[in-house]
Structure formats: structure tokens, C-alpha cells
Symmetry: C2
Subunit: 152 residues, 2 copies
């Protein structure tokens, strides 16, 4: 299945809100979602965004049974560890169930990896953390370095 | 005991490195500290710092037995929750053992709270998170709102 990965735009936030809720429902915690597309629009864009987001889109002919063409997203931001320094934290990685198995999740994560600064100096490479690997099972290499190893 | 709280400057980073290591030793994990004052100087200042830091200083006459006058620090930064939105994450809060019991930790945390944006609209107030409350036992109120409640 063809799909594209691109930086989210403000007009994607209603779709992102929808998928955040789908993920929360999957986790049996829909009541925990306190924000809407309005906060996402306010906080994710401009010169100092609070988060970065990429979205996955499929062509119109592959739209979901509910008519959606935006079918996955990843949200990440920088944090800091006083032990390890610069850290990229991946908050959410989600692909709609009917679109799984097409490599969309891996492509989203690979696109994040390409956005992470890297250099010859090992200390310039940020550490990577996440909580959300419950559905991700692969090994991601970038620039000869193992960035993410998930074997279980 | 008199003390002052102020925003860390690059020249404070050797003291911050020393105290990060003291905290890691306290946690029995000194081998985990992979960064030094050089990374702290590079990452904490300029237009888009990776972290924010406040330091506590005592007058020369109250210097530590090792001659230090910078005796505590707090490091925090913004993260983002797809459930709760803007979040302030407090990475470290530390006061040297010989200076505890003087209200320095509470003053550091209060100074962080004053730096956090707040408004009439509840949704503009960021959520607050940390892992490091093992030695903090108090309730912090700000603008009539309970910001931190630690009872155990």
C-alpha cells in the first residue's frame, strides 16, 4: 500500500486528536484525554513548539472504512537527562488497526530517526527513550548505529 | 541560613556537574553519569536551551566543608502529554546534605513554580511531573492552586 510521511500541519490536528483518542480507547483509558485539536494546534507549531509530529497518509482510494486518509502519527520532543544529556522522547506512535502490517509504523519511526541530529562525535547524538513499544518489534539502524532494539 | 536562588549561568556548570554526581552517588549509580560540565554548558543556554536550571548559593561564610558556596540545584524542562498537554518535568532537585533543613529545596521548587506560566484559563496551566520526590515532603500552593502534594 502506498503512503506518505510528512510533518503535521495545524489542519491535521483534528485527525491527530481522533487518533490520540483511538489509542487511549485501545489502552482502556479514554477518560484520560483532556486536550483537543485546539491545544494541539496551539502547542505544536511556531518557533518553539512543545512537540513535533509526523503523520502518515494514504491515497483517497485506500481511505479507511470511516473515510479517513490520515492513518497514523508519531509525536516526539526533546527532553534532557542529567546522566545522558540530550534525549529524544517518543510520546506516541500509532497506526490505525486496519492499516497495520504495511510498514507505516516503521516508516514513521525511521522518519523520526532521520530528523534526530547526528554527528561524528558520539556525544552529539541524543539518547532515545519511549514508553510506547508495546506494539513495536524491530531493530532500527541509522548511520551504522543501532538506535532502537526491540526484540520481544 | 541566608541563601539566594538564581538562574544558572554557564560558569555554574562545574558546580552542577559536581552535584549531579553527588546525587548519582547517593542513588548508588555514579557510573550512569555520562555527561560533564561541557555538555551542560552547551545544552542549557542560548535561545533554545534543552533544560532550565536554578542554583542555590550561600554566602562565603557559610561555605561547605569542601569550600563550596553553590549548594543546591533544580533542573526542569517542558515536555508534552497527548492526554494532558503542556507538562513541566522536574528532572533533578538536589540540596547538599550539610545544607538540608534550611528551606533551600522548598525555595528552589517555589522558584520553579513561579517560572511556570499560569493564567485564568485552567487549560493554560501546564501539568507538573517528576520522578524525584523521594526526599520532598510538602505541599506547594501557587495562585490558590495546589501544584504539588507530597504527603508521604
Amino acid at each position: 500500500m502506498r503512503f506518505t510521511i510528512s510533518a503535521a500541519k495545524p489542519e491535521d490536528c483534528k485527525d491527530i486528536e481522533r487518533m490520540i483518542m483511538e489509542l487511549a480507547v485501545y489502552e482502556n483509558m479514554p477518560d484520560q484525554v483532556k486536550i483537543s485539536h485546539k491545544e494541539l494546534e496551539r502547542d505544536g507549531f511556531g518557533p518553539n513548539p512543545f512537540y513535533h509530529c509526523l503523520v502518515a497518509e494514504v491515497p483517497e482510494e485506500h481511505k479507511s472504512k470511516d473515510g479517513n486518509t490520515t492513518v497514523g502519527y508519531v509525536i516526539f520532543f526533546y527532553t534532557y537527562s542529567t546522566w545522558k544529556g540530550r534525549t529524544v522522547y517518543m510520546e506516541d506512535l500509532y497506526v490505525m488497526p486496519e492499516f497495520r502490517g504495511n510498514g507505516i509504523g516503521k516508516a514513521l519511526l525511521g522518519a523520526v530517526a532521520k530528523l534526530i541530529p547526528h554527528g561524528e562525535q558520539k556525544e552529539n547524538r541524543p539518547h532515545f527513550e519511549t514508553w510506547c513499544f508495546f506494539k513495536v518489534r524491530f531493530l532500527l539502524r541509522l548511520h551504522g548505529r543501532i538506535l532502537i532494539r526491540v526484540l520481544s
